[in-house]
């Protein structure tokens, strides 16, 4: 994973073929695919951990702000500022604090997901029909039961939409994590930007990863909210 930083060439330029010509070489790709396995796994790791932590933090904030509406404004402002800091800048800002490596990358990626996740959670909770809430109270649900049995389930479609956006954005941003020394597919792309085969494979893996994660969430959403397609 540290290949890029240590300056090791990923191709053999002595071979006077398509590889030396910076070309797109299916043979080379087939032979070298396994070199992308570790960076891909690292990319998946960065993405999932960041989104998971971001989701937990955003959920805690949303639950707090759901009861105390005045918190929504300040939380949106703060997470909004985090959202607008360019990620590369965030990596460099964090380096003195957390050093090179996963921690720095994850902290920056988490910060980036918060606004999207929080806003969708709040929008989802706000979108719960008043009459459902009223019926729930009228049936004798306590506030806690109302939250977990009525409000959260009804907010799920919006929450899952936020999760999808956060997930795909994070896959993209994790491609810059190598600036923080956290590897990932971005490190591979950067290792030999001039070699088309390399750039194509690494980028394609990024796209596939984003599509796969997006699809997984979509499937989960279908399973969790069968009623939303019915309505």
């Amino acid at each position: 994973m540290m290949l890029a930083q240590s300056g090791v060439e990923i191709r053999d330029r002595s071979d006077a073929s398509c590889v030396a010509d910076n070309g797109f070489c299916p043979r080379w790709i087939a032979d070298n695919l396994d070199r992308y396995a570790d960076p891909l796994l690292q990319h998946v790791y960065l993405t999932l951990v960041s989104v998971a932590i971001g989701f937990a933090v955003a959920a805690a904030l949303a639950l707090l702000a759901h009861r105390r509406r005045w918190l929504v404004g300040p939380i949106v402002n703060v997470t909004g500022i985090l959202y607008t800091i360019p990620s590369v800048a965030a990596f460099f800002l964090l380096l003195p604090l957390t050093g090179r490596g996963n921690t720095t990358a994850i902290v920056a990626l988490v910060a980036y997901t918060l606004l999207i996740l929080f806003r969708n959670m709040i929008d989802g909770l706000d979108g719960v029909p008043e009459e459902s809430r009223d019926a729930g109270r009228g049936m004798g649900l306590t506030r806690r039961q109302l939250l977990w049995r009525v409000e959260v389930p009804l907010a799920l479609p919006a929450i899952m939409t936020g999760l999808r956006v956060a997930m795909t954005t994070t896959v993209g941003l994790a491609a810059l994590a190598f600036f923080a020394g956290a590897g990932g597919l971005g490190a591979e792309i950067n290792a030999d930007l001039a070699f088309k085969s390399n750039v194509v494979v690494a980028s394609a893996l990024c796209l596939l990863l984003a599509a796969a994660l997006d699809g997984a969430i979509l499937l989960a959403q279908r399973a969790l909210t069968p009623w939303s397609r019915a309505a």
Partner: protein, 327 residues
Amino acid sequence: MPAALELQNVTKQYPGAGGAPAVADLSLRVEPGETCVLVGPSGSGKTTAMRMVNRMVDMTSGDILIDGRSVMRSDPAELRRHIGYVIQNVGLFPHRTALQNIGTVPQLLGWPRERIVARARELADLVGLDPALADRYPGQMSGGQRQRVGVARALAADPPLMLMDEPFGALDPITRDHLQGEFERLKERVSTTIVFVTHDIDEAIRLGDRIAILREGGGLAQYATPGELLLHPADAFVEEFVGADRALKRLALMQVSDCELEPVGAVPAGSAAMRDDTSLRDALAALLSDPDGRLPIVDAEGRPIGVLALETVHAKLRVEAGAPSPG
């Protein structure tokens, strides 16, 4: 066991409503097993009055007793689990199927799973919900089907008291009539005290054992049985609210069998016979279109028992009006 309900000088003043209370000094008593219909123009405080019973709205003053015990002494959530509630606009949970919606309160009460499902099916059947709809979501049901689920949900835990806020509102007249008919049958099969809100006086007369007419500002204009209300409206407001066709509405409450029939015999040929459990209102309509104003009457087995004459119906109305008000 159906509960007794008593409202004692109940007043609700919403904050910032400029001094006018939504419900003013309302007192009424509903006997166990009775259906009390709250009726009145829009904004007369019907929903407010009803929602104070299960503490969805906090009363400003007065007290509400269920079986002699003040609702203020119960925890609101606990109280509500023992009072069936059909909210205005039904309010089914969109993310739960028909059966799951019906099982809401039993689930809160911690019934075992199988018992909840069995009870939900039983109620779906009781309110005439097509079994094929059991696993549908509210978004996949028609308005009438949702209303049935709403009623079944309120009945699920066999509550001693049930509150129904315009359960058949927003339905076409045919479906509404159909559901009202089912409600009448349902009332015979469940023993529960019912408070029923509507702004439709005909629905009130049809379904209520007693009717409370509220006027704008939430005051009680009259509290009486349907018959008494039609016969002796307390004031001009009630008279107007009940409508100019009071006599016809009274006839709708009586049956052919309530009249003295003329002996069988002089029945004009060609007149179709009418059963003695027909309402006098329908009988009158038939009499008016009969050339002689006389109709043969048969009992439930189709045996001729007499002849009903137009004059008899007219006389019946006058006798009723002249007699002291019925219990």
